[in-house]
Symmetry: C2
Subunit: 177 residues, 2 copies
């Protein structure tokens, strides 16, 4: 494998690198690798048992999708500070309690992105401004309805499927103790 080469980078987020792999026939094949600072994924749960979900326009899909709040970490940013910042930017709430729900790789075939998942509780309205290119509305959904949507395919965002099902499992296990 030869050294990697940076092809393109965002202002302060991920960058695309390429490496050349040698094929069995001796030819080189160029592979793309996304280098990513990581992201946080939040399940903001209200005292009433509802999750604050986003209806968000996604440019890559050219449509609005339903997903949990999430956001890219700064390269050197603390994970928990990032979680608090993104929660305030995207859901307009801060949380006084965060519970880790494990990690995810969203696209290990092309990217080194690591996502850290959190259940966020004890919510209080405390908004931060959204990014200029975000088009988000916040809507509460009962957690059991989201579990059904994750399992029957109505929820299609991969990180949201994993986060909702892990949050539900965590709460069930806590209630049974």
């Amino acid at each position: 494998m030869t050294k990697s080469k940076t092809i393109w980078q965002t202002t302060n987020g991920w960058r695309l690198e390429t490496v050349d792999l040698q094929r069995p026939d001796g030819q080189l094949e160029q592979k793309g690798i996304v280098r990513h600072p990581g992201a946080v994924v939040l399940v903001p749960l209200t005292a009433a048992g509802e999750v604050l979900m986003l209806h968000q326009y996604r440019l890559a899909l050219d449509r609005e999708i339903i997903e949990v709040p999430a956001g890219t970490r700064g390269w050197e940013e603390d994970w928990l500070l990032c979680a608090q910042r993104e929660l305030r930017e995207e859901s307009g709430h801060r949380a006084d309690h965060f519970i880790e729900l494990g990690d995810l790789w969203p696209a290990p075939g092309v990217s080194d992105e690591l996502m850290k998942l959190f259940l966020a509780t004890e919510l209080t309205p405390d908004p931060l401004p959204q990014d200029f290119d975000e088009d988000i509305s916040v809507r509460p959904y009962p957690l059991p309805e989201l579990v059904t949507m994750a399992l029957d395919g109505r929820l299609q965002d991969a990180k949201s499927v994993a986060a909702i099902l892990r949050a539900h499992h965590h709460l069930e296990a806590s209630n049974n103790q």
Copy 2:
């Protein structure tokens, strides 16, 4: 939004495009969008109730991970033919029965990739050659163990977490009918 521009493309898979978005201050900010032909994700279930999982080296992460068989579709390839091909290439088995488990977007913030998930049953050994750059070993895991791993974070691959939990839910629902 200005027209998109192709920055880089793989031999026959995804390509990176950029678009310029105008910021509120009038400056342009370049956004990257991955255009992707889509992928299939398989849960190959044996008659003994085990799932054929892969231990696969991933270049982007520079480590081996545990995941379900999956693979990129050709741009014009039929989804079910793609599922059968990838299953034979990666698990060494063909399946006589496929059940759809809904769709996923692995990375809607940057990519238009759509994944179609399938439960694959009635397996028979029938391998196809692996891609030259794949380093895969196939290992059967009991489905209940994988469900626990998906929920407690030991399974970190996002598509695998969703696919395993949807497959388990489908089988539970079928058994209760």
